[in-house]
């Protein structure tokens, strides 16, 4: 009989092998998935994982998709360390894109170095305003942040759709729901000439470094950790839960807002309804896969960026449905959560005993 028993001490090894194990299991499952659909599994996996990043253009595309994931994930890490389950990065992202677009559309004829910063700041502020709603609902009315942020995501999406079909619609756009193209001065400069990779990736890496400094060195990061691990100790120490909640949510809104602003001022250059393929949701997977650690989320954002372009590649090359991306992302999160159980628990082979009664009590407090 197999027994799942609580480990006396959480496994540090398992904490870091769990993501790798989850990836391996995802690949194996993917293999059989291709087989079941009558496709060549080796070919399919190659198109999904290898082909997209086999040249410079491909790598640049990877960086392009990494940027919004990394920015959103950095902000979410700040929230999740404090056990504030902010699911609203998607909404912050959309509002950031919308806010930046509103300003950029007013400035289509402007030129000057100040245009781009102004547009980006507008996106950041819009993202923060959106996250502030959820923060206020939590600190003043004690609303569950999971519910409020999810609902705010839908409101943000519909607000964006309304705007792009209405006030911000390009009057000469042949009725397409999209804004005018932004001025050159409002666009992010490219990082590698000849590719679409833009400055947004640098923002993402900077955000990850900032998260590292926050939690490795700063007192406010320590306070966030304490609130996440032990609310009573935080109250005892006088670390204001309200203040920290506001801080985490505003950081989350700011980074996701910047991600949204970077998307409209980067590869797209205008506001369109499908500005996000779900970056804000995928960023949640990035944070957990990356163990809420700066280096981890950089690696995880690269992997999940790959699922976006790998999915596109499969659509083109093998005529697979678009849902493949979501399927692989879902599998990854599913396996990760499963494997994470083994951080706290271990399997043990147990001899069947007569009169076997499940033992609930654990020997957690051993005298030493």
């Amino acid at each position: 009989m197999l027994l799942l028993e609580r480990r006396p001490v959480d496994s540090a090894l398992m904490r870091w092998t769990s993501p790798v194990l989850a990836l391996v299991l995802t690949v194996i499952t993917g293999f059989f998935l291709f087989l079941a659909m009558g496709k060549d599994p080796v070919e399919g996996l190659r198109f999904f994982f290898i082909t997209p990043i086999s040249d410079l253009i491909g790598l640049a595309e990877l960086g392009l998709k990494m940027a919004p994931l990394l920015l959103c994930a950095a902000g979410l890490t700040v929230c999740y360390r404090a056990k504030l389950w902010n699911i609203g990065a998607e909404g912050h992202f959309l509002m950031g894109a919308l806010g930046a677009s509103v300003v950029a559309v007013q400035l289509v004829d402007a030129s000057g170095f100040w245009v781009l910063p102004l547009v980006l700041v507008a996106g950041v502020i819009a993202g923060m305003l959106w996250s502030a709603i959820a923060a206020g609902l939590k600190t003043h009315l004690n609303c569950n942040e999971i519910l409020t942020t999810i609902m705010l995501n839908y409101i943000a999406l519909n607000l964006l759709l309304f705007t792009v079909h209405g006030p911000l619609k390009d009057p000469y756009g042949f009725g397409f729901p999209q804004s005018v193209m932004f001025a050159e001065s409002a666009l992010l400069p490219d990082l590698i000439p000849g590719t679409r990779l833009h400055l947004g990736l640098a923002f993402g890496v900077l955000a990850a470094v900032a998260v590292w400094v926050l939690f490795a060195r700063s007192f406010i990061g320590f306070q966030l950790n304490v609130v996440g691990q032990d609310q009573r100790a935080a109250a005892f120490a006088g670390f204001g839960a309200r203040r920290l909640t506001w801080f985490a949510f505003l950081v989350g809104g700011a980074t996701a807002g910047l991600a949204g602003a970077s998307e409209v001022t980067g590869p797209i250059g205008q506001l369109v309804p499908q500005v996000s393929p779900g970056y804000g949701y995928t960023a949640i997977i990035v944070v957990f896969l990356g163990r809420m650690h700066a280096l981890g989320i950089i690696a995880a954002s690269a992997l999940l960026a790959l699922t976006f372009i790998g999915g596109e590649m499969l659509q083109i090359a093998m005529n697979m449905p678009k849902a493949t991306t979501g399927l692989f992302q879902g599998l990854l999160l599913f396996y990760l959560l499963t494997c994470d159980a083994f951080i706290h628990y271990r399997l043990r082979l147990k001899q069947p005993v007569r009169q076997s009664t499940p033992v609930a009590a654990s020997a957690a407090t051993q005298e030493a």
Partner: protein, 511 residues
């Protein structure tokens, strides 16, 4: 008393990685016997109890139950055999009611009949003087009330061997006397009782026989009534630990803390509200607050720490109104707090000792411009460990890996090294071994001699009488007058603990 053997343990060995918790222990308990199991924290008592109760399996040794060799593989089996256990750290579900918690341990047919179960809980709890409302949620109960649930649960299961792990630590003298009467009555009816305690006087008053453990071995057996407490203590701690005696009183200085008409309304209908509390605390004195668990001690501590805030002038600290200040602001003025719960309030279990130093000592130049100075943090932490003799592998040990006594020494040390003007300590030696308790008492007295005011909230009357210059009691959120320890009798204090004092409205029964 019959001579029938209820329980016999022979040569029990249990090894954990890095430590031999039980090293060849023999123990016999007769039917109707009250048997004491004594020893410091880490002596192996808990492990031995877990072996008997089936929580862990011994590596070697035999257990005989009513004359038959047995192997207990689970607590459920132990309960079926008639072994009941009251853990020191309660195993209750906070989100369930008293009756639901008790029902969990009963056979389905008994558990389903709620009306009958409620009646039995009321009957048993009242018979033994432990008033309990079966429909209250455990989360709203104080520590002392939770223990009542545990004891009543065993009594309802009709156990023939009751294991009690430090059962008296949260009871008043009157309640202890009631509990002892209950236990004696149970023993007369043939029930065996295994009584684990640090309180030697209680063991001497109650138990027929005692087995003393030290470092996983039996260091002696005795009849506690026939030997002195000092002799038993020597068996427990060896010959090198000084046994503490009453501390000489000190000359009190100026008033440091004035509490004026402090009231606070609890949001929880079962919680305790603070009512018109008045208190003066002088420099260089230790004032004790006695009381039964759940009578407002925790609320009073929170009101002083800043976790509960009140009107600005209800608390005056060195002439400054601090009632509206937050915990960290008060701490910077020199207020230090040692809460009742070590893990999960006084310290974060999963964090290292160094990180836990940062929890309350950040104002000791450990943080500069928002950045943590880890060198200083570790230095501070090492200093606490060194000065207070905290046994651990270093400042990188997690708080959860320390024994209760050692963690408590660390927490007290962390506060003491910040040179506080006021230290409020709640149950500082609860569940702490004798050696650590002595060290903690010495630390409190040293702080007092350096001029600090100390407010000691405790249910251990020996401790209060030993350390304090003045003592009062809290009951139902009201504070009794304070009397100099020399003029106070234990009977008078017991009366105060039950609410028998007159300031304002005075018709309150003990909760």
């Amino acid at each position: 008393m019959t001579a029938a053997l209820r329980l016999k343990l022979e040569n029990i060995v249990k090894e954990y990685p890095g430590c031999r918790a039980n090293d060849g222990i023999d123990l016999t308990v007769e039917a109707g016997e009250i048997h004491a199991l004594l020893g410091e924290n880490g002596a192996g008592k808990s492990t031995l109890m877990k072996v008997i109760y089936g929580v862990v399996q011994p590596d070697a040794g035999t257990m005989t139950w009513n004359g038959h060799p047995v192997r207990v593989t689970s607590p459920a089996q132990a309960r079926e055999m008639g072994i009941g256990m009251v853990f020191q750290h309660f195993s209750l579900f906070e989100t369930l009611t008293v009756a639901e918690n008790i029902a969990l341990g009963l056979p389905p047919e008994e558990a389903r009949n709620r009306g009958e179960l409620d009646r039995r809980i009321r009957e048993v709890s009242e018979r033994y003087g432990m008033a309990l409302d079966p429909r209250r949620y455990v989360s709203t109960l104080s520590v002392g009330e939770r223990q009542r649930v545990e004891i009543v649960r065993c009594l309802i299961q009709e156990s023939t061997l009751l294991i009690l792990d430090e059962p008296t630590s949260v009871l008043t003298p009157q309640e202890v006397a009631d509990l002892f009467a209950t236990l004696r009555q149970l023993a007369k009816e043939g029930c065996s009782i295994l009584f684990i305690s640090h309180k030697l006087e209680e063991v001497r008053a109650l138990c027929h026989n005692a087995t003393v453990l030290r470092q996983g071995r039996v260091s002696g057996d005795c009849k506690p009534a026939e030997v002195s407490a000092a002799e038993i203590a020597r068996l427990m701690v060896g010959d090198d630990t000084p046994i503490s005696t009453r501390v000489a009183a000190a000359e009190a200085g100026d008033v440091l803390l004035e509490v004026r008409d402090l009231s606070w309304q609890s949001g929880d209908p079962f919680g305790t509200s603070l009512k018109h509390i008045n208190l003066d605390l002088h420099q260089g004195e230790i004032v004790g607050i006695a009381g039964v668990a759940g009578n407002g001690q925790d609320e009073l501590l929170k009101a002083l720490s800043g976790e509960i805030r009140s009107a600005r002038d209800s608390l005056s600290f060195g002439g400054v109104g601090i009632g509206a200040l937050k915990p960290d602001q008060r701490r910077r003025l020199g207020v230090a707090i040692v809460p009742e719960e070590r893990l999960g309030r006084g310290a974060v279990p999963g964090m290292t000792l160094a990180e836990n130093a940062l929890l309350t000592a950040s104002s000791q130049r450990l943080v500069e411009r928002g950045m943590i100075r880890f060198g200083k943090v570790r230095e501070f932490s090492r200093e606490v460990i060194r000065q207070f003799g905290v046994r651990c592998t270093g400042e990188d040990s997690t708080a959860a890996s320390l024994s209760g006594g050692n963690l408590q020494k660390y927490i007290i040390g962390r506060e003491a090294l910040q040179n506080p003007k006021l230290l409020v300590a709640s149950h500082p030696t609860w569940g702490v071994d004798v050696g650590s308790a002595v060290a903690i008492h010495e630390a409190l007295v040293r702080l007092r001699d350096e001029g600090a005011s100390i407010l000691l909230i405790s249910e251990d009357l020996d401790e209060l009488f030993q350390l304090c210059g003045r003592i009062g009691a809290i009951c139902n959120g009201r504070l009794s007058p304070l009397a100099p320890t020399a003029d106070l009798t234990i009977e008078q204090l017991g009366e105060w603990m039950a609410g028998g004092f007159d300031n304002g409205e005075a018709t309150h029964a003990a909760a």
